[in-house]
């Protein structure tokens, strides 16, 4: 299974597989041999990465993994393949500044023009689907560089509506 792990803007892709010798994690050209044992309470893990030992408390809440290890506390956003694909379609793909239609529908309002500076959370497009008005908001602050939809237009799920930088 492929995982995308993210802390802030830092991102890694891992392919984790169960082989007959144990767990294997590949990141680019690097392959790690993992051994992982759950300790009693269901959230504490003894993790061995190529034999190196880490004592980890991990609270896995869907895509958010709260980690305590090495004296630090990390909030790690982890998506598996399915979640990653779903987000890409929904226009939430991390790292890319694109606004995509989360569902098929009709563009009822375009609230930003090319060259506009927008704030995080600002509504950019209102999409009507199943008689509901769905505001699509900017995931991060930035500048709109391209608008690819217009009012009244019917769009498919995953259609690119805007590009930002």
């Amino acid at each position: 299974m492929k995982y995308t792990s993210k802390i802030g803007t830092e991102e890694r892709e891992f392919v984790i597989e169960r082989t007959k010798d144990g767990l294997r994690a590949r990141c680019g050209d690097t392959v790690h041999v993992l051994e992982m044992a759950l300790v009693g309470d269901g959230q504490t893990f003894s993790l061995l990465v190529d034999g190196k030992s880490y004592d980890v408390v991990a609270d896995v809440q869907r895509e958010e993994v709260l980690l305590h290890m090495l004296g630090e506390r990390f909030v790690v956003h982890v998506e598996d393949e399915r979640e990653h694909a779903a987000h890409a379609v929904a226009g939430h793909k991390h790292g890319k500044r694109e606004l995509r239609a989360a569902m098929p529908g009709i563009v009822v309002e375009v609230k930003a023009a090319e060259g506009d500076t927008v704030a995080e959370g600002q509504t950019l497009v209102v999409l009507e689907a199943m008689k509901m008005q769905n505001p699509l908001a900017a995931e991060t602050a930035g500048k709109v560089v391209r608008v690819l939809c217009k009012q009244g237009e019917a769009v498919a799920a995953g259609a690119l509506l805007m590009e930002m930088e």
Binding site: S5, E10, I16, M36, F45, M69
Partner: protein
Amino acid sequence: MPPIRRILVANRGEIALRVIRTAQEMGIETVAVYSDADRRSLHVRQATRAEYLGGSKPAESYLDIQKVVAAAKRTGCDALHPGYGFLSENEDAAQACIDAGIEFLGPPPKAILAMGDKVEARKIAMAAGVPLVPGLQEEVSEQRLVEAARQVGYPVMLKAAAGGGGKGIRIVREEKQLLEAFHMARAEARGAFGDDRVYLEKFVTRPRHVEIQVMADKHGNVVHYGERECSVQRRHQKLVEESPCSALTPELRAQMGKAACDLARAVGYVGAGTVEFLYSEGRFYFLEMNTRLQVEHPVTEMRYGVDLVREQIRVGQGETLTPVPEPRGHSIEVRVNAEDPETYFPSLGLISRINLPGGPGVRLDSALYRGLEVTPFYDSMLAKLVVHGVDREQAIARCVRALRELRIVGVATSLPTALRTLQSAEFRGGDYDTGILERIDKKPPAEKRDVALLAAAAAKFLVAEQAGARAAAAHLPGQATPRWSLLGRVDRMRRTNP
């Protein structure tokens, strides 16, 4: 004076537990007091008796002098320990105890009053020959402000006369900022202390915060237990303390110790107290005196092998001070606050898991337990980790080791910040000042982030794998129908065919 038999502990959290522990060792009974939020707290569970005070807001419980003293009388206490915070530096509380015939385990009201007013404290210190930061010994008015600042020389600092906890402090580097800063300091002082008097003094560059622990008995004896270095602060609140301070020579230490004892004598001090100094380039200046047992007192206890609460109780019983033991080795304390390490905002929540550190030279003072709810009503400090080593290097290594063992899950804490501080070259070098925390990374180092990215993915993989295995086990063909679903069928049949 008869020995103390029962003490009311007028506090909560780790300090209440700290006092209860020593009292138990001395065979003295304890009465805990508690608010609505603290019914399940460890101090209530560990004390001999417990008395309900009132609502969770401090004003409805721990700050209500009448309620606290009434609880002490009702339960037949002969002494009251105020801890730190709450009523510990309140002269009315001390007086109320005296009036009720209860020994207040702290200084006389007169001494609390004199040292609590920062302007008054400076006057007394000056008269006692204790060095002061150049500045005005009294409240500064708007009319005299510009002239006074010029006289002292920039940069200057404006401080609330009734101050504490870093509120009402403004640093001014140029004359054009002066008036605005003055009004802000006054407004903040009024809001925090209900007293808008502000004084002005020279701002000392690269200052270190070094304080002396003193103890006085009722027979006129005053001793000191050396210094604590408390320069690792953010927003004027301490995070890491150590003893000894690497900057002090034996001569300076002796001078500061003598100055602190002189000041204690000058105000007729009794019990445990701390005289805070600014230290800069071989000189020290009086800051203020805290007329209570300090949060960081275990640093001194570990280095001197002494129990300061025991000494407080002995003094309260009218005994003379025990001789001060020879200090040995090096001691470090880390405060563990429930706070966001980047914003320092309090972090609230339920403590779902704790791993406590152990091993040689490690002490943990806390009132933590699994299931503790961190509420917005009280101070955010959860625990104090204190270590002792033969020298500074060993103490730092031990503290880093223990910090990695100590794990608190459920709220964000200051632990990562403390760890990075102790591992920083600046702290290790020993030559640091009160600005050190501004220079400590706010994020985990890259090599730790790398492992965390992998560990999180691996944890998610394992959780998914186990969920898959459970789901598969539940649907194995040929397996008997689970009993609960059989029961459900029987139940439905009964209902439809009575």
